[in-house]
Symmetry: C2
Subunit: 484 residues, 2 copies
């Protein structure tokens, strides 16, 4: 999509509103609409906010309007969090006032049966009459961290990132945030599509595919409404950027659950496998993999092949990485004799140097995080590196906590350079060599080196097998790209 | 094993020493032996500790002995963290002084090739001469939290638990502790076996199988030395308690890595599959699953069948749980009409009640965590419950952080009862109904309800699919038990 077209996309306008009318917020802290407005305010959304409320003169300190028809201007976006039956009338009023974009949070439509289906059809009719494009109903809204736009009920505390999200589950846009924050997996923009009465997953793919902040797209799917268009749009997008999909409607229980969740019509697993294959979409099977793979795909250069090097100071993770590589279709080739000799020079006698490289208890962080990766990644036969054992402050703090009662321990600042000396070089490896590097460690952001790695775009996962699976997704996407 | 026999088991004596001689500790904080001694001291090990040191008069304030022959008594256990070449002589001296049990941390033996193999054979010979039984070499030691015995280089900060560990990787006993602590997965006793020159995995299974604190056993395997004995012992143990195994030697890369790590001779994947099947051992494929499954198996009653109920207030996780159930061989049956009617009475109009049960945005914690589980688990056709969405303080704190600048927020203590009212009842469900309940949430122990659940023996995992896989492991073990 060309740039001038991007700004005309209905989702661009929903994701970049200069003004928001919010219907359902009040001064009662326990109401969902109120929490949504608090998130807009607390997140420092820079646009105008117009709360609508039938009785209150002000809502959370903002002047309130009794009715959409009395809005001082046709807001760029309206957000509706209302009892089901009140939605059509309010949408009609918004339309009359000239509002053209909306997010309908309220549930109780298609997903609850015949009566809800009728009500949802009415929404579509009203929208068509007024030229309104909307997300929902039965969704949780959208998040655009860089624009400080978060009118969902969940605060977004961590940094904006480059993973775009389109989801038929609101939970996977909001409640999952604490988990994503632990790895610094950040959204470019995230959209909960709900029942997709008007705008759907395909629209989201089209939009996120053109959004320059979005480097990879994660999609949660219970059922695709427009499979032909999905394939056409996804084929175009995956030529430019990767899409990872989690599809849960392909089993009997998954299909039943999805039908009552968003009223989606799911299809057999094999059908969706084919749909994804044809579209160049990578399929994940768990919500953790969905986001972790998208994160790696958004952050790293693609490998030229499946030959991986493994580097660690722990024998167990070395074997786990090696075993998982083979199980996920990655190769762990024996290094050439020349490379082995180069590596061996830097290792203690107990170390292994064939691939995996295991330093054992040798604690030279510079060798582990800089010198060896440099030597290994320079070798043209190696396509990527898996490294287990990023560590900085956490072990020191743990030991110091025990030891301080018995001996004098230097303050962490004095020894930090020991742990940290190589981190700057480490996070630059992917760019320097044009090859992917994925790390793992059994600590998370309580360790400053893990946090540093994540903050500088080098994914560090909480277990070795997770790193391997993400690397396999990179290889998969590299192959998808080279098919064309 | 009868109790009097248990106390005679060489591993019982290693895990319950009244005195420890430690060789390799000094007053230099950067030495591994020193950190091990600090852990013993800091962990408040109640027995006597005798540091051996050729020069120092005291080590970390304790009187030091220049030589094993001058020990004031034959210590129950000796721990050796020395340069490889020094180990045989020290072991000989310990033997002469009458020490009968040892842990040899030092590496540089079988795992590094021919010369190391000879040196390892020498250790075995010396041990045999003096009647010494030992763990290692090339291991990380043992941890027995309830006895405050942790002579490894990693502090153990969280609570003792009921998962027994035998591992051919020291990392999976020590460095993995921060990860395990995040879910309150606690060891009964953990043993890093290293090269298994004397005591091996089979000895560990035999011992942990008889240890009354150990309710489930997690085993990390690169290669089994004595497969026949493994089967015989494991068959006996799995009649009484579950064993979960992670085997990484069954792929080409995993086998090569394992050979250079502990010098293990691994075997084809299919062979180990058969070995595990014959022994009644449950096979995991990732280190996270290994521990998470063992945790569930150690904590929960076994299901009578594979019929699962799913309960949540989020549609996405409901579908993910349902889909994952079917993928992992669990059933999610439609509830009977009577049960559906009972459930429906407690739900808002937007809720689903067929199974999965989805409360949607209805926030009555008592309904989610107590009333519905009670109704569902009473139904004889349901064998277990998966619940996503345990939550207490974390969401409140997040929202309060945003909202406090705009409205008056009550202190958490005032609203805690709202979130917490049903937690006491929730954690008693498995015992009350004799059925397993496994939870998930996207927060970890920063949420007080998640921490409460974990602290009271009801596993709560960080993602829905993890809960399903653990439940599948429970079903698997129930079937293993009923085969006999």
């Amino acid at each position: 999509m060309r740039e001038e077209m991007l700004t005309e996309h209905p989702l661009f306008q929903i994701m970049h509103p200069r003004s928001v009318a919010i219907v359902g917020a009040s001064n009662d802290f326990t109401k969902m609409g109120t929490i949504q407005l608090l998130n807009l305010l607390g997140g420092k959304y820079p646009g105008k906010i117009y709360p609508l409320h039938p009785q209150e003169k002000t809502v959370l300190g903002l002047p309130a309007y009794p009715n959409a028809r009395e809005l001082p201007e046709p807001a760029d976006l309206a957000i509706l969090t209302l009892p089901t039956s009140a939605v059509p009338e309010v949408l009609e009023d918004l339309g009359v006032r000239g509002v053209k974009r909306a997010i309908i949070i309220s549930g109780g439509f298609k997903e609850v049966g015949e009566k809800g289906r009728e009500l949802e059809a009415l929404l579509v009719k009203i929208a068509r009459k007024h030229g309104i494009r909307f997300i929902g109903p039965n969704c949780i809204g959208v998040i655009h961290p860089a624009l400080h736009l978060n009118p969902t009920m969940y605060p977004y505390f961590h940094r904006a990132g480059s993973v775009g999200v389109a989801s038929q589950s609101g939970t996977y846009v909001t409640q999952i945030l604490p988990l994503l924050a632990k790895s610094q997996i950040g959204y470019s923009q995230a959209i909960s599509v709900g029942n997709e009465a008007n705008l759907d997953l395909v629209d989201c793919l089209e939009y996120l595919g053109s959004d320059p902040q979005t480097k990879a797209i994660a999609v949660y799917i219970e059922g695709v409404k427009r499979p032909r268009e999905f394939i056409r749009i996804a084929q175009g997008v995956t030529r430019e950027k990767p899409i990872v999909a989690l599809y849960v409607g392909g089993t009997e229980a998954g299909a039943r659950s999805s039908a009552s969740h968003t009223g989606s019509i799911s299809g057999p697993d094999a059908l969706y496998d084919a749909l994804f294959r044809q579209s160049g979409v990578i399929r994940a099977y768990t919500v953790e993999d969905l986001y972790e793979w998208a994160w790696a795909l958004a952050s790293l250069p693609l490998p030229k092949g499946r030959n991986m090097a493994i580097l660690t100071h722990s024998g167990g993770p070395a074997s786990s990485l090696a075993d998982a590589c083979n199980r996920w279709g990655l190769k762990v080739p024996l290094f050439s004799e020349g490379l082995q000799a180069e590596i061996r020079r830097l290792l203690p006698a107990t170390g292994s140097y064939h691939n995996p490289v295991d330093l054992t208890f040798f604690m030279d962080v510079g060798v582990l995080m800089e010198k060896l990766p440099e030597i290994i990644l320079k070798d043209p036969s190696i396509d990527g590196l898996l490294l287990h054992g990023v560590h900085g402050s956490s072990y020191f703090h743990q030991v110091a906590e025990i030891a301080k009662n018995f001996i004098r321990i230097p303050p962490y600042e004095k020894v930090k350079s020991f742990f940290f000396s190589a981190m700057e070089a480490f996070v630059r490896l992917p760019e320097r060599h044009g090859k992917p590097v994925i790390a793992s460690a059994f600590t998370e952001r309580e360790d400053d080196a893990v946090a540093f790695s994540q903050d500088h775009g080098l994914p560090c996962y909480r277990a070795p097998e997770r790193a391997v699976r993400a690397m396999a997704a990179l290889c998969r996407y590299a192959e998808i790209c080279s098919r064309e």
